[in-house]
């Protein structure tokens, strides 16, 4: 196949040797073990403390942190985003975090407000 000069082909850039592959496979198995352990820890925490009111807040934030930890490993290692150029990582992640960060902030703070006055509002309208 002749190379076309109007298309720039990067598909071959990711080819690698046997040794490099071995190193990568090791990393994948390590991440699998790590993610499984984190999931087991999460479920165990839920089983032990989910009905304990005093642990509620701690549990909530530790679940969110552990989830972001898992998500980071999936995107950076499994999806190879960590191997892409920094500028591309920014293109993918920055719009997401800016827009969704705002959405989460505005929706959850509104929800708490609406929830706080829900009984009074429903009472007023006779719902």
């Amino acid at each position: 196949m002749d190379a076309r000069d109007d298309i720039y082909e990067y598909s071959l850039d990711t080819h690698h040797s046997e040794e490099a592959g071995q190193k990568m496979r090791k990393k994948f198995y390590f991440v699998l073990a790590l993610l499984s352990v984190v999931t087991i820890i999460e479920v165990a925490m839920g089983m032990i403390w989910s009905r304990d009111e005093s642990m509620k807040e701690i549990l909530k934030y530790s679940f969110i942190i552990l989830t972001l930890f898992k998500a980071g490993y999936i995107t950076m290692v499994f999806m190879h985003l960590g191997d892409e150029k920094k500028s591309f990582q920014t293109v993918v992640l920055a719009p997401y975090f800016i827009l969704i960060g705002y959405l989460i902030f505005i929706c959850l703070s509104e929800a708490l407000y609406v929830g706080e006055f829900r009984p009074a509002v429903e009472n007023y309208f006779g719902l």
Binding site: Y8, D13, E18, G21, L32, R51, P119
Partner: protein, 292 residues
């Protein structure tokens, strides 16, 4: 993966111009298909985030009467008792494992090992199928509900549940829990109140007996819980299902030897990105639906 740039590929574009934005080269050093897959995934991530944020909104609004997932998802195949969340944990493990087999298929593709790619792709497809099947099983139990059911009160919205001890799972006879959301309190969440005796009998006589969950009513409490559950896990399950289908198509292309002829297995990498994304979404659904 840097440091293994193919000599032929590198020489065709890297010395074109010194300025990465000056044309003649991709500033991101990434192929068109892969970049577009990333952009699609970002847009899909927006959709899922929107759904999960909407769920978060309603959950915070009805914080005091939202059902505990640990009370709802207690089934485990071939076991009669209650094990909270064990089956979902298993499903999560299956999906993460299938993500690993996918990434191993991609890695084998980078070494042009056709046999290896085939092997790992088959395992990925099997893992995905197990996950979709498990989800169907989970829906079945959620739709059918518990043996004793619950009572939908006159207003057609409020659900009166049996009082069940969360630790022993023993049902207290003729004692019920009703959400208190009409007392006009401004600052205090009101939660549930216990109803028993004559009062319960009167309420029960005017109520409809319901079992399980649909989009309209939900044995486990507020119907919104069921609505969001069906919609979000359904949307995710549909992604897994289409992922399995696309994986199967790419697998046939691998077997047929298409990518040996093209000279690279980038197609496997692209479907891999989609597959990992499905796993990524599940990690969030698992946390917000089942754990919290």
């Amino acid at each position: 993966m840097s440091g293994h740039v193919s000599q032929t590929a590198a020489s065709t574009h890297s010395d074109h111009t010194a300025d990465p934005w000056g044309g003649g080269t991709s500033p991101y050093k990434i192929s068109y298909g892969k970049m577009m897959m990333w952009f699609f995934l970002v847009s899909d991530a927006f959709t899922f985030s929107g759904l999960l944020t909407a769920y978060g909104f309603m959950r915070h609004k009805y914080e005091d009467i939202w059902p505990t997932a640990g009370d709802v998802f207690t089934h485990f195949p071939m076991y009669d008792g209650h094990i909270e969340l064990a089956y979902v944990a298993f499903m999560t493990f299956v999906l993460i494992a299938s993500s690993v087999t996918m990434v191993l298929a991609v890695e084998a593709g980078h070494r042009m090992k056709k046999k290896s790619v085939q092997f790992w792709m088959v395992l990925t497809i099997v893992g995905g199928a197990i996950f979709v099947g498990s989800q169907a099983w989970e829906w079945y139990h959620f739709i059918h509900g518990t043996e004793h059911g619950a009572y939908l009160l006159e207003d057609g919205v409020t659900v009166m549940r049996h009082k069940i001890d969360p630790h022993t799972h023993v049902l207290e006879k003729d004692v019920f829990l009703v959400p208190v959301n009409r007392e006009g309190s401004l600052t205090e969440f009101s939660g549930f109140r216990e109803v028993s005796g004559n009062e319960a009998a009167v309420m029960k006589s005017k109520a409809t007996h319901i079992k399980g969950a649909t989009l309209k009513h939900n044995e486990y409490g507020i119907p919104l819980f069921a609505d969001f559950f069906f919609f979000i896990t359904g949307f995710h399950g549909f992604h897994v299902f289409s992922g399995v289908c696309i994986n199967f198509i790419i697998f046939l292309m691998v077997v047929e030897g298409k990518f040996e002829r093209t000279g690279h297995y980038e197609m496997v990498e692209k479907v891999g990105l989609y597959w990992h994304f499905v796993d990524l979404v599940w990690v969030f659904v698992f946390t917000f639906f089942y754990l919290l």
